[in-house]
Symmetry: C2
Subunit: 592 residues, 2 copies
Amino acid sequence: MPIYHAPTKDMQFVLHDVLKIAESDIPGYDELDRDFTGAVLEEAGKLSENVLAPLNPVGDRQGCTLENGVVRTPEGFKAAYDQMREGGWMGLDADPEYGGQGMPYLLNSAVGEMFVSSNMAFNMYQGLTHGAYSAIHAHGSEAQKATYLPKMIEGSWSGTMNLTEPQCGTDLGLIRTKAEPQDDGSYSITGQKIWISAGEHDLSDNIIHLVLAKAPGGGEGTKGISLFIVPKFLVNEDGSLGARNSLVCGGLEEKMGIHGNATCVMHYDGARGFLVGELHKGMRAMFTMMNEARLGVGLQGYAQGAVAYQNALAFAQDRLQGRDVTGPQSPDSPADPIIVHPDVRRNLMDQKSFVEGARAFTFWGAQMIDRAHRNEDSEAEAMISLLTPVLKGFLTDKGFETCVLAQQTLGGSGFTREWGLEQFVRDARITMIYEGTNGIQSLDLVGRKLGLNGGKTVMAFFDMVKAFIKENEENEALKADFLDPLKKASKDLQAAGMYFMQNGMKAPNNALSGSYDFMHLFGHVCLGLMWTKMAKAAAEALDAGAEDTVFYETKLATGRYYMARQLPATAMHLARIESGAGPVMALDAANF
Amino acid sequence: MPIYHAPTKDMQFVLHDVLKIAESDIPGYDELDRDFTGAVLEEAGKLSENVLAPLNPVGDRQGCTLENGVVRTPEGFKAAYDQMREGGWMGLDADPEYGGQGMPYLLNSAVGEMFVSSNMAFNMYQGLTHGAYSAIHAHGSEAQKATYLPKMIEGSWSGTMNLTEPQCGTDLGLIRTKAEPQDDGSYSITGQKIWISAGEHDLSDNIIHLVLAKAPGGGEGTKGISLFIVPKFLVNEDGSLGARNSLVCGGLEEKMGIHGNATCVMHYDGARGFLVGELHKGMRAMFTMMNEARLGVGLQGYAQGAVAYQNALAFAQDRLQGRDVTGPQSPDSPADPIIVHPDVRRNLMDQKSFVEGARAFTFWGAQMIDRAHRNEDSEAEAMISLLTPVLKGFLTDKGFETCVLAQQTLGGSGFTREWGLEQFVRDARITMIYEGTNGIQSLDLVGRKLGLNGGKTVMAFFDMVKAFIKENEENEALKADFLDPLKKASKDLQAAGMYFMQNGMKAPNNALSGSYDFMHLFGHVCLGLMWTKMAKAAAEALDAGAEDTVFYETKLATGRYYMARQLPATAMHLARIESGAGPVMALDAANF
């Protein structure tokens, strides 16, 4: 069975040595000293290691079953869900007004990484609830908030997002689900939704579906879409559960992974629904959920890579095969552990340097969200909007790739069920697809986010990188190994942006053909920046006489690997981008 | 259910327009005119499309079952196997002296691609038999050949390769299976072998296991290994089946993919075995099988990519979502087919340009094998030895990647079972692992093959590329789009080789740390060469007034894509290589 160790120490390093969160001016961060975050992470780690991780292969093997409209989750899921509820984990960053603990989103993200690494399919049940909570919290009426949020925060009710229909995934303008206004102010919802994660299950007493549908008079396309609360059980005035609503799970998808999570076909047959926010402005409300969800999916991507890496490392340190070419390392054993071999190292270092860089990037992004919300800082809001598609697209592509690399470390064992690596690969695969495929992320980045605030936001990103490099140019520990490659990568990114400006205006396909490479180029620059920041923090700790020299030296060495071996990818992405739309669009669709 | 169309036309282009096989001086190639190969490919294509492809999802869902030592293959496999037998497909390139059809290996490879694309798990049963046939043919005694080969060629007996044991995969020196000499000249074989593909099943009357074991007196490590024939049923003097041998399938592996193929734990408990070739020289005999098997696995990699691409393309031409940014293409439909979107194109072109390049590379390699064997050409033998790890490692890495890309084209549908893409991903994954992981391939390439014949073989490769570029430098159709990028990529490859020469001598880890990147760099140069050759052939066909201008123009455009968008990867691989062992080996094994 696969192992999992909560990476508490590395998280503390990012939170305190790198981001120095306790010194931040973000309201609520003053509580987050090293002891406090350490205690929270330790508790979350125990739950992850002892309760969630052992259930992960169980969920994969048993999957969910549907019988007479009732979905049963795998054995042990209900008990674990109740344990999570009782521990108060589901409302960690939720509004105290409705029973939440009001912790920063950043802390919730750190805890979330552990939950996702140990059991992604399980954690989706509460993840979806969190997304639905956020949408109601941001756009619901006071009465709706009072009715739904406390129960959702405590986990006795869960939530879902209903967007996709058979004929429409990315293109929500094609939605057919109808909302007919009723005399009492509610709506009658009719239509079919597919791929609804956690759409039906046996973990909570009620399920609060958030459903996109078209009400009359809204016009064509996405303009006509509204957002509705459609509860599985209607809620009485006193808050108790009333009649069963006219909605049913019509089937479960058979899929490649995340078998422990029920992916449902949902039928709404004149179900009672309640408008959230303004009529015909459902897309705006949905975007609130989607941005948060996209960050969460980016986190899922690298979190699967994180646990896969741990298992690859343990195998590489244990498995005896062949001899170190420079001389036997374990002369008394029949062979050396495979970690002596340079190509096994190369593989492990690719994994390790990505996972730790991605963790820092995600925490940094989560801090920006806190700043945007808690300080009402519109620049932070814009910056995280710019970075959201990068966090989602790059971290899930590379997170999946990391799982594949980790699987490769195990050779044949990686292909067999019992070692668990193949499950991480199958589970991680969905992160590149849902919440907007990574192709869509790249379109969002190039088509929408680059032009945000007339291009000022992306310029602010470039300026920030430049300022950071300038600020540290006297730092000899960083110069050659970190600052120089970061500068080079950042120049490649700016050159790509320039190419889009000069060529995308006259022919948008010149920009769109390079969007995917741009997203990866951007991701490498972000991880290069994170590694330089981590190296700086590690060098400072060593200078200050930190006791754990091995930890900080390892951090520096891992960073050097990323800069030397991963950042050269930026030049390749730039070359691909600068080849323009010609090679991409040359063929007629019929001639493929 | 996924589709499959036999790519007969593209194969004919490679065989006749590019490789011009009918004009070759290789014995047996004179038969291979366009009509003949067309007829064979068409028949194989029908079988693949109509019989094998429909069984592929069946095999995946049902898998194999083991009860009381008996393995049952999925429904329909036996009937399909018999149909393959009756069609004579199993002995297509086998020695006519033993009942084979004596066709070139090249033709067998083309047919094999279709069989693998349509049903990889099924085709492995005969693929393993072919490998065992080759080893016995090359190293067995006349009596052994007469006893086993005719039945194996007709498919009534099948074969396996037994190398791996729980404690030894790559490092065969650790083998514990014992061979005790008996008075009658046979050996008593005892030990456990794992991951034995097609180790037990219900398709053939007998299974001829080739088993690596240690006989007394052979010394330590791989030197003490010998190769044995260990039949499931012993064979009487008259060729009829005798007693059941003391070997049994003790379990089936649960694994990520190729569920239709039985991956067996095999227990040999004093089983009767017969030495093949010389005592203690088993590794040499095994290498005969391994080289052929590695080429076959490279073919599996891109063949899975080929069928995945076909399905991605069909989806992209059919699925309506969003509008072409340059204006609606299907104004009467609610949306345009997604193939209008540049990022979907980018994805499809990555797939298409790899698959067609890989096909040409594999056929070219197969032709080299024919030249090596049929003309007893030692230079061709050396060249294919050099290229074997590239064919295996690069084509399976990129083949898997192509399946993942194709899955991505389908969005959420790619993750669900019914569309079949996720099966291609799961099945393709094993090709990067078995027959020597791709890390091992890269070690073989850098540690052994670069130094082959004192480095003359790799120099011959460089010279061949240079000569080809020079020969065509006046060709304006090729210059900027093909020859220039090929020259650049080839220089990167030579620079990497130079780096190894200058730095690997003093510290071998400098070479070994870059081996994986070198394998990919080499692969890109090979595909760049193939695309330039294909472009040349296409341009010549157009100049000669070929009727099917669309086909040849599409070929040119696809090649331009590969050169513009894929070859820039060579500079990245070179940069990684030139960063040396430092970043890779910096950490102590204990400090990860």
